[in-house]
């Protein structure tokens, strides 16, 4: 598997808190839109179709 599915962020709790904070005060629709932008940005950063395909699979099966 090319996708890293083991812990990879040095400060997982800190990132998680940032993620939630980014959504603070947003209406549901605005929150969804933010997530969509985030997905696109991260996907472009990864840039590897195999990794992206595995990520899509994992998210669907979870």
């Amino acid at each position: 598997m090319a996708l890293i599915d083991t812990p990879n962020i040095p400060d997982p709790d800190g990132f998680y808190a940032d993620l939630i904070a980014a959504h603070e005060g947003l209406e549901q629709a605005a929150s969804h839109a933010l997530n969509a932008r985030l997905v696109l940005i991260l996907a472009n950063h990864i840039g590897d179709r195999t990794v992206l395909a595995e990520a899509l699979e994992l998210s669907k099966s979870a």
Partner: protein, 530 residues
Amino acid sequence: MVDVRYQTAFRLYPYERVAAQDRVQRHQVVIVGGGPIGMAMALDLGLKGIEAVVLDDHDGVGVGSRAICFAKRTLEIADRLGCADPMVEKGVVWNLGKVYREDRQIYDFNLQPEAGHKRPAFINLQQPYFEKFVVERIREARDDGAPIEIRGKNKVDNIASHDDHVVLEVDTPDGPYKLEADYVIACDGVRSPIREMLGLGFEGRVFQDNFLIADVIMDADEFPVERRFWFDPPFNPGQSVLLHKQPDNVWRIDFQLGWDIDREKELKEENVRARVDGMLGPDVEYQLEWTSIYTFQCCSMDEYRHGRVFFAGDSAHQVSPFGARGCNGGMQDVDNLGWKLAAVLNGEAGDRLLDTYHSERKHGADENILNSSRATDFLTPKSEVSRMFRDAVLDLAEKAPFARAHVNSGRLSVPCTYDGSALNGADDDTLPKSLRPGSPAVDAEVDGGWLIDRLGGRFQVLAINCLAPTVEGAEVIELDSHTAPDLAERYLGEAAQAIYLLRPDQHVAARWIYTKPAAITAALTTAMGG
């Protein structure tokens, strides 16, 4: 009765009574439909010495442009047929595109043409001109002895396909007659009466959207020569708009309208004008040349060959116009079928070669349908989530260049590579991937001229930086890449030399770095259907 279903822009082939109406005659190829594809098909066959009769139920080219964007590969095919020069002279070339959202520009792009190609990536030209230039070239070829005949106001009413020939029943202003053909090519457009008569299906997707297409004539300096695309502009809220320049000071405007509309109301001149005024501003003078409303779909037949009947162009496959793949795709059908049919009729190849028309062109059509469906899905998102991602792309496009790659208002038609085709032979994959077997040849500047002008019409062995082994059935071209950097880059990559076997449609059949005559002969046999 031969009904008039549309007005003609150029009356090019008025009805004339012919002797064949009194006595059944047999022709090598009869083409049903004289649109761009039928006419180009006749020209290609006629130039190869094959007898081609075109039957069209009108006597000229229909009013209303439809296609305006003709891609480089189409121009190269037209070059091979000898009618690209007037198209390019008349056509408009644009490089600058601007994308707007609501009331502001979010980015622009410059499609700087890549150097070392005879033809531009595409031109804008009204479809009636395209057809007219093909028909004019047919006249010229006919004067030089090409056996092509065009019969206007000849409407095909019935078809009967037999093992060794096809019989057509044709209606004319002087009443019906019958004629026979070795092969029939149905180029009778998206509603293909031939397809109906044979009871064949045409499956696909209808996109739940309507587009108002308006061609307006404005004074030259009102707008620069560039393509503008708007998402959700104030003059068409919630929808998209496209503005494109054509020759003769004509501008094409596509207004997306949405699904639930009142067609008649939208087509009323005052309502069309209200939209155009909103877009151009109140002070711009213009004339409305042509308006129409379209619903787009992507459909294809399952098989493009049915015995002795072939389907080419819109009769075989339909795409939404985003990416301009309709006529451009159809021209590749012509390119593919012409040499195969000629080879079989001349007894040089067996019937099996004709099956590869379907397999190769279905592959091409699937690619075109895929691309045009994706563009349509971007413009008309099918679900809330799809719309959310579309809007997210637009949100980001203003700031982050990567997101612009996701903005899809059509991916310009490029010819497909016949990967996996039964006609493909040997490959040396250390040579550039873009010219692997199945790919169309790429142009390059050589000896002060263009490579593409020297290719096509027969099998050719192209030897670069080496001597070409002589084989029967192929012409030899030897080139030196040391003074031709594009040739070296596109055809050799890292290699010092290469030998390409090219088909009459300029597609690569096989390639090597070193090879022997026997290997080329074997590849030639494969490329002729085995």
